[in-house]
């Protein structure tokens, strides 16, 4: 507290004092003002997702001022001449009005749609970054689950918003959802009736999707983002392995002023880029599709990109697997894609716990793995990405066939084969690539980098001069965690449990062909004849290496 006899503080000082006396913002600033954040481009993916969400809230709020979620029929009489006089729902008419009769409406609609596409994309890439660097390990497993839920909510928010204009394209999307819901055993038909307020399409669903889209899902997303970020504060951010980085510290720049400027500026950059794209590239031209009518449909219909993998799953599903139980039917053309995609999502959500069950490593991990240093995880990730990518490409079978003049049937069969074979190939290629890169790193640590300089020794021998990497570079190459497979052993009762056996087998898959980090003995042996500067120099930090 300032002494009253001191010089009168200025406006900022006065305001700060006012707030501190009521909200103790001094304590907050002291705690957070110099909090350290590490710097890396891949850490900005999550930021892009967060900022896209802010853009969505801002642009979406504008849209709610003009949009009307009603399916009552009206005759269109707006500025868009081709549809004048057409019968349509108020929802569609008000979406057209936003596009053509409200200045700034179209740019806001476009910003909203582009930001939504970016939101899910950035969240997905952020998830991949977290996965491939092992950032989900203890203590962040729960935050992985929160992030996973956020990704699901993002897809849900996207789909509910996509359906609001009540145009032909989104109506067909809803029809597909209706068909899927109806296919769920026992409760399907009743569930569909509940969702649509009766028969499809009904007069209720747009209003229901609207309250999901502008209230329930955003509220859940905001809560989850809050939890997500709070956990980031509790755990502090991870950092990549590098000199001076350990599991006990965090190296980077302070929040004030550097990160306030960088992250704050980055929000404007994301917003600016979204605005520029929205100003110049049309997205979802609903006026071309016309109002929803259950009869027409145009060829080459596709959902927004993030729903594509589910649509692809529907297309790649096998025909004729329907199961009959007495007089009841389980339509597998719907259930197989549903079950497969739910299993896939379940595996994604559970991965941190699966990996930890294998390694049984209970330590906290704050130094990120380079993907090559966890070859099996990277390979599993590559397989998952491939599986998702084939499903996603599966949503374009018709476009691939027409654009490349191939047989639609053959494209689809090829996709079905790829869906099963692709992940296996990707797994193997990624694992081998990681191991090759690890070998290269090892070579670099032991013998330095090739300089391309050939020297002839006095006795006539030619050698290529290798240059030792400096100690900072070296540390990056050697600082990683390494695990060994475990052998199933009998427990105290002399029994080898099935769980133990499975774990032993899985640990073999994970770690059997591992490349161990260079040990001190190996390193010293390799450098016995030419001791490099890096070893002789005294280390600056007194901290012992973390990866004993």
């Amino acid at each position: 507290m300032t002494n009253t006899t001191e010089k009168k503080p200025g406006f900022v000082g006065g305001a700060a004092n006012y707030l501190d006396e009521r909200l103790s913002i001094g304590t907050v600033l002291k705690g957070f003002g110099r909090k350290v954040f590490p710097d890396h481009w891949s850490f900005m993916l999550g930021e892009v997702a967060l900022y896209s969400f802010v853009i969505l809230v801002l642009s979406g709020t504008f849209l709610t001022f003009f949009y009307q979620p009603s399916m009552a029929e009206v005759t269109y009489n707006g500025s868009y001449a081709p549809l004048k006089g057409a019968e349509m729902s108020i929802a569609y008419a008000s979406s057209l009005d936003i596009s053509f009769d409200i200045r700034g409406g179209l740019i806001m609609r476009q910003i909203h749609h582009w930001a939504a596409l970016l939101f899910v994309a950035a969240a997905g890439l952020h998830m991949l970054r977290v996965f491939f660097t092992g950032a989900f390990r203890k203590p962040r497993e729960l935050n992985w689950v929160v992030g996973f839920l956020l990704f699901l909510m993002g897809m849900g928010a996207g789909f509910t918003g996509y359906s609001l204009p009540d145009d032909l394209l989104s109506g067909n999307g809803l029809r597909i959802i209706d068909g899927m819901i109806k296919g769920i055993p026992v409760i399907g038909p009743a569930f569909s009736s509940g969702f649509f307020g009766g028969a499809f399409p009904g007069t209720e669903v747009v209003a229901r999707l609207y309250s999901l889209h502008i209230m329930i899902l955003p509220a859940l997303i905001i809560v989850l983002i809050g939890v997500h970020l709070m956990m980031v504060i509790i755990h502090k951010h991870t950092h990549y392995s590098g000199p001076g980085r350990t599991d006990d510290n965090v190296v980077g720049y302070p929040l004030m002023p550097v990160y306030v400027a960088k992250a704050g500026g980055f929000f404007f950059l994301v917003f600016g880029v979204v605005a520029a794209i929205s100003a110049t590239f049309t997205i979802n031209p609903i006026w071309n599709y016309g109002p929803y009518d259950p009869s027409p449909v145009s060829a080459g219909t596709q959902p927004d990109w993030y729903i594509g993998w589910l649509d692809g799953a529907l297309r790649l599903a096998p025909s004729g697997w329907d199961i009959s139980i007495f007089d009841y039917v389980i339509p597998m053309g719907v259930m197989v894609p549903l079950i497969v995609s739910l299993l896939f999502l379940g595996l994604v959500a559970a991965y941190p716990f699966i990996e930890n069950w294998v390694t049984k490593d209970k330590r906290e991990h704050h130094v990120l793995d380079r993907p090559r240093n966890a070859p099996t995880r990277t390979a599993i990730g590559a397989a998952g990405v491939t599986f998702y990518a084939v499903l996603w490409a599966g949503a374009s079978t018709d476009l691939i066939a027409t654009n490349f003049q191939m047989s639609l049937n053959q494209v689809l069969v090829a996709m079905q084969i790829m869906l099963l074979a692709g992940p296996v190939i990707a797994y193997w290629v990624a694992k081998r690539a990681c191991i090759a890169l690890q070998n290269k790193d090892r070579e670099m640590v032991l013998h330095g980098r090739e300089t391309g300089r050939i020297v002839r020794l006095p006795h006539g021998e030619y050698i290529e001069v290798h240059e030792n990497v400096d100690k900072y570079e070296l540390w990056k190459l050697i600082d990683y965690k390494d695990y060994q497979p475990v052998i199933a052993r009998p427990d105290a009762n002399g029994k080898t449990t099935i769980g133990n056996r499975i774990r032993s087998a899985v640990s073999k898959i994970y770690f059997e062909d591992r490349i161990a980090p260079v040990s001190k003995a190996e390193y010293e042996l390799a450098h016995a004849d030419h001791v490099p500067e890096a070893v002789t120099e005294k280390p600056k930090s007194k901290r012992k290496s973390i990866n004993a």
């Binding site: 596009s99 969702f195 649509f196 290496s545």
Partner: protein
């Protein structure tokens, strides 16, 4: 071993001694703006210029709003308005963004600092105290001791949300057999979609395709789309010799004119694409393919059931009429479809 690692098992992690100790954070590289006030001043001007550009962008966006008022029927106003407001906003955002980031990168310190982490786990002392609190609260409330209270409370907590679920019971009406019937009745004329003009058999030449709805549907005031979503039909005339009809359905067609439900049996998209040469019907959503010449059975894609056929005939005036409703449910399969 550090504090964090002391308390936790490393699991399968190996214990390999590092060749060199952690060398510590790399020394800071001095930037031009750190050592030369001239460079710093240049950077300052650049940043100020970017903020200036941002103001210009905002002005462009405002100008875009007023310069292109909406003109009924003229889309160029909308286009210009959207373009200039968008570009103006983009410029004003990018100006601030680039300015702030440039500021951070050139003039704010870029020497990395290190901060200690704390293990997530509370200290043993804190945990003991927390446990003490829980025990105290348990003792004071008698939560563990008074089983009757505890169990009835669990019961109450389990039951109280049920009304919140039941209350949603009227989200939709009971399905009943609505999924199994459509608007088609014996004698309903086949009308063109969307005009609703009835079709004569003589209008349908060989090879032609008509999108068909029941007569009267287009004049409906209520539930038009719901009825259409079930009743839409695709009408095709082929050479009668190309048709491979079931003997018991032979009178469902009229001189090679056949009518099939247009609602895909996979998930309900309209099966809107007809290939004249092969007599194949293709659903554009998921590419289920049906063979029109063979009672629309599935020959490719994810659908499992054939498209239901609408039995048709011709009335005294030559108009195409339905003999009855579809004899099986149209659209996607569901649990009690055969009931």
């Amino acid at each position: 071993m550090t504090d964090i690692e002391k308390s936790y098992s490393p699991g399968l992690a190996t214990d390999i001694e590092k060749p060199i100790p952690n060398p510590g954070i790399e020394p800071h590289r001095i930037r031009m703006t750190d050592k030369s006030e001239k460079h710093a001043r240049t950077a300052e001007k650049q940043i100020a210029a970017m903020f200036g550009v941002s103001v210009v962008g905002a002005i462009i966006a405002i100008w875009g709003f007023f310069a292109f008022p909406i003109v009924d029927g003229d889309l160029s106003a909308t286009r210009n308005n959207s373009l200039w407001m968008g570009l103006g906003m983009a410029l004003s955002m990018l100006g601030i963004g680039f300015g702030a980031v440039h500021w951070a990168k050139t003039l704010m310190p870029d020497n990395e600092v290190s901060e200690m982490r704390h293990q997530a786990r509370s200290t043993d002392e804190t945990r003991a105290q927390a446990l003490e609190i829980v025990k105290l609260a348990d003792g004071e409330s008698g939560f563990s001791r008074r089983k009757l209270i505890r169990r009835t409370m669990y019961g109450a907590l389990a039951f109280f949300p049920i009304p919140a679920i039941v209350i949603f019971g009227d989200l939709g009406p009971v399905v009943g057999d609505t999924l199994k019937h459509t608007m088609w009745k014996s004698g309903t004329r086949l009308a063109k979609d969307p005009t609703g003009i009835p079709l004569k058999a003589s209008d349908v030449t060989i090879g032609s395709v008509f999108h068909v709805i029941p007569e009267g549907l287009s004049e409906m005031e209520e539930h038009k789309l719901e009825e259409k979503a079930k009743a839409a039909v695709l009408l095709v005339r082929v050479n009668p010799s190309d048709l491979n009809e079931d003997p018991d359905k032979a009178d469902w067609s009229y001189q090679g004119i056949v009518a099939y439900s247009k609602i895909c049996t996979h998930v309900g998209c309209p099966v809107a694409l007809y290939e004249q040469h092969t007599h194949h019907l293709l659903c554009p959503c998921h590419q289920s393919t049906f063979d029109l010449a063979n009672h629309c059975k599935v020959i490719f894609g994810p659908a499992s059931r054939s498209l239901p056929q609408l039995p048709i005939a011709v009335d005294a005036e030559g108009y195409l009429i339905a003999q009855s409703d579809f004899l099986e449910p149209v659209g996607p399969s569901f649990w009690d479809i055969r009931k």
